[in-house]
Amino acid sequence: MRFMPRTVAPAADRVRRREFIALAGGAASAAAWMAPARAQALPVIGYLGSESPERYASRLSAFREGLAETGYAEGRNVAIEFRWAEGQYSRLPALAVELANRQVTVIVAPGGAEVALAAKSATTTIPIVFEMGGNPIALGVVSSLSRPGGNLTGVSSLSVEVSRKRLEFMHEVRPDTKKFAVAVNPTSPTSNSQLKNLHAAADALGLELVVLKNSDEQEFGAMFTAVREMQAGGLVFSSDPYFAYRSQQLAALAVRYAVPAMTQSRDFPLAGGLMSYGGDFGQSHRHTGIYAGRVLKGEKPSDLPVQRVTKVELFINLKAAGNLGISFPPSLLGIADRVIE
């Protein structure tokens, strides 16, 4: 500035000051524009639940944990829009369409193949992150685990695959009995494959299987009565979200009817049921949260392989066993992930 001829310098000064003011003004107005714009642009997760918030509570907290791992917190930098089917799975497709019309950033469809399929039918553009217990390929949700393609990806647990293990464990607890009852939800897309699996296992173990079909909580009591009447060694629940979300109810009925029963969900023994063997839903819902976060960050679902939660957990309730007059073999006690005393 000092090197300029004196008459020019003030003019240049003035010009620069004007530029600076223009810049500063521009920045200020840009900031004024951006602040509300960012508030409006808060990404929205459309959360499709098959049951009620109360039944999903533990799953939701695991999901939020996963979201937090990728840096998202509800209300702070992401909004969550919930749609609950309240146990009426037939409502799921309509709720999914609602979310799709709402143009949410990502749809999270946890809690089984029904939810995933409902979301899949609602949109082909909005990314979907599912969570289910069965094999997503066999259920027609994705065509490949490593490269799901399209707008879907998600997490699957081994719950469906291990339903035969439940029969094996139940047989180990009641080695003297050959007759066992199996509860199947006929509306579940996995029911047929699970039944096939269970029959094969029963054949291998030399057991007689009585299949009880049930898709209505009002009929639960009748089911337990039937088990008692047929003198079966125990009741093994196939893997199904409808059963899983009603673990408390089932546990109460098992206690009331004094039926040794086993489900996929740890909630069952925790509520007084005998035992459970299935995937760790805490992990699967947490990974669902992580994937939702990664999709929010801009990753394409087609680039995210379907993850399988490999952890399978065995929960045993010794108190329930005592009430039923059952003693657990040491092999089971030794390998249980948790023994409730």
């Binding site: 291990v162 392989p305 399988r308 030794g334």
Partner: protein, 579 residues
């Protein structure tokens, strides 16, 4: 001072700037450059060591994972198979599943190659299945090498699995074959951090990704996407052992990577760190040097500007002063109080100006003196610079007057050109004579001339000198008179001289200053000239006495002269015959 030459200000500024730039920036450049150069090499060497160590550490961690599985499996192949050990074996196997979550299923094969036990997390357990495994490569491999690692397979094209078979120390204990879910290495690989953002990954022998902190990359099992990682391994293999290589990772980021091999499974553990982070300190040093360079340049410029400003002011004043003095304004004084060389220079200029003014005054005075002094006298005064001789004083002088006879009549009749021509020849002749004799020509008035001897410069024998001069005057004027008489027949030339005391000195007004003599002797000489006939030289008594016999004089009758009460004795020079 608008007529100054083009201001050389930029050039002075540039000189200072270049000098200061060289003084400030060059050392900075050298220091910064060498720091960057040596820093880069040191950092490169340090990174080599660091990454090599990290790679080996990562390899050890993954090897620990495999060793752990090996140890667990070893338990199941310590005791030989007998008929009633089945149930205990089953318990052991189930406990192993509990202890080692990565093991999905385990088969125990007896010495004959029969499957005695199979336990699984997913499938049904089998006791005494009895399937023949003697041709299973896992069993054959384990029997010969105690441990066998199967190839990495991707179940459903996604999840990586590997079979490990472990044999006991003797054939009777059989072989344990376990299916391992390699996803569990993820927890190991996730725990490895190189620097701030560096990470590790594992490739199997064919170059498939076995473990990576981003597990979805592994699960994607996309060979094409993993090609950059294989290229990175190839780049490391191309370097000498223990040297890190620079390459691209999956996200096209440039990374520095080192590798360690895990024996047995034959996997490569590669650790990588972004080059930007690895060389961060060097970049920081370069940035520092750059900032210092810019600051140095700015400092040099500021200093140069300041120094130039300090110089320019006094130089301007000096330049202005010199220009004024050069233009003749000798009374101008340069006033500078910088108390340095500039002030001294200004003082010198001032002294020069005053000396110039003195010498100019003198030369002006001398040029004025030259008008009436003989050139010799003028030069003398010029040389000595002393004009005190011209000061007024009373001195014995010889005054010579001469004029043309009949000039008034001639000038009344003749053409002006003729009059001027005559006078020019007349004056030239007289001036030559006066100069020759070292006399002082005081004045021309018309045809009359007054000449002074012994003043302002005294000379020896002024009277004789005056007479000789008068004779020479007569001689040279008479020569001209021969031709002039053709113009006017009554033209003639007479001289009168007298000796006596007179007041001499510079007399006159400020503007017109003349050297002259005042006194009776001047009057007398003038009267004698007036009374002299053509060709006659009249001399007064004092002069004649001073001449004595040095010249031939004749005493004429005393004459009554105007302004003198008594008749004045008059002498005439006897003219020698013209040579």
């Amino acid at each position: 001072m608008s007529d100054l030459p083009v201001a050389p200000r930029t050039s002075l500024f540039r000189k200072y700037f270049l000098a200061l730039f060289a003084a400030v920036v060059a050392p900075l450049l050298i220091a910064g450059g060498s720091e960057a150069w040596f820093g880069y090499h040191d950092q490169r060497a340090r990174l080599n060591d660091l990454l090599d160590a990290e790679a080996r550490l990562a390899a050890v961690k993954i090897q620990d994972f495999i060793e752990g599985l090996h140890d667990q499996l070893s338990w199941t192949v310590q005791l030989p198979w007998t008929e009633n050990t089945g149930d205990r074996r089953r318990l052991d196997a189930l406990r192993l599943l509990r202890q080692a979550p990565a093991v999905r299923s385990l088969s125990l094969i007896d010495a004959s190659g029969k499957e005695r036990l199979f336990v699984s997390r997913i499938g049904l357990n089998r006791i005494e299945g009895g399937d023949d495994h003697s041709t299973n490569p896992a069993v054959i491999g384990a029997r010969s090498d105690r441990i066998w690692f199967g190839p990495v397979t991707f179940q459903d094209g996604s999840e990586p699995f590997m079979t490990i078979a472990v044999a006991g120390n003797r054939t009777a204990v059989g072989v344990a074959v376990a299916e391992i879910n390699l996803k569990f290495i993820w927890e190991v690989i996730l725990g490895i951090r190189v620097g701030r953002t560096g990470e590790a990954f594992v490739l199997d022998r064919p170059g498939r990704l076995v473990a990576h902190p981003d597990i979805s990359l592994v699960l994607r099992a996309d060979e094409a996407a993993q090609r950059p990682l294989q290229a990175l391994r190839a780049a490391i293999l191309a370097r000498p052992t223990g040297q890190a290589a620079i390459g691209q990772d999956i996200t096209d980021k440039t990374v520095l990577a080192a590798m360690a091999q895990i024996p047995g499974v034959d996997w490569s553990v590669i650790v990588k760190q972004p080059v930007a982070e690895a060389f961060g300190p060097i970049y920081a040093a370069l940035l520092r040097t750059g900032v210092l360079l810019i600051a140095g340049a700015v400092l040099a410029a500021a200093l140069a500007y300041w120094l130039t400003q300090r110089m320019i002011g006094p130089i301007r004043v000096l330049e202005d002063g010199v220009a004024r003095i050069g233009a003749g304004q000798f009374d101008h004084r340069i006033s500078l109080a910088t108390s340095d060389e500039f002030e001294r220079l200004a003082t010198r200029f001032n002294e020069m100006a005053s000396e110039l003014s003195v010498s100019q005054e003198r030369s002006e005075r001398i040029s004025r003196l030259k008008r009436f002094l003989a050139p010799q006298v003028a030069e003398l005064i010029d040389r000595t610079g002393d004009d005190h001789v011209l000061d007024g004083r009373r001195v014995e002088v010889v005054v010579v007057f001469c004029d043309l006879r009949g000039f008034t009549a001639f000038s009344a009749q003749a053409e002006p050109e003729a009059i001027i021509g005559v006078l020019r020849e007349y004056y030239d002749a007289l001036e030559r004579v006066v100069t020759t004799h070292g006399a002082t020509l005081i004045n021309f008035f018309g045809d009359g001339v007054m000449v002074l001897l012994n003043a302002p410069v005294s000379c020896s024998d002024p009277a004789l000198r005056a007479v000789n001069m008068a004779i020479d005057m007569q001689r040279s004027v008479q020569k001209f008179l021969v031709s002039w008489r053709a113009l006017h027949p009554r033209l003639g030339f007479g001289v009168g001289l007298a000796m006596g005391p007179a007041t001499v000195g510079r007399i006159g007004s400020e503007g017109r200053l003349n050297y002259t003599a005042i006194g009776n002797v001047v009057n007398l000489a003038s009267r004698l000239c007036s009374s002299a006939e053509d060709s006659e030289i009249l001399i007064d008594r004092i002069a004649a006495k001073a001449i004595g016999s040095s010249a031939s004089l004749v005493e004429l009758d005393a004459r009554v002269l105007k302004g003198f009460d008594q008749p004045v004795p008059v002498f005439a020079v006897v003219s020698a015959p013209t040579p």
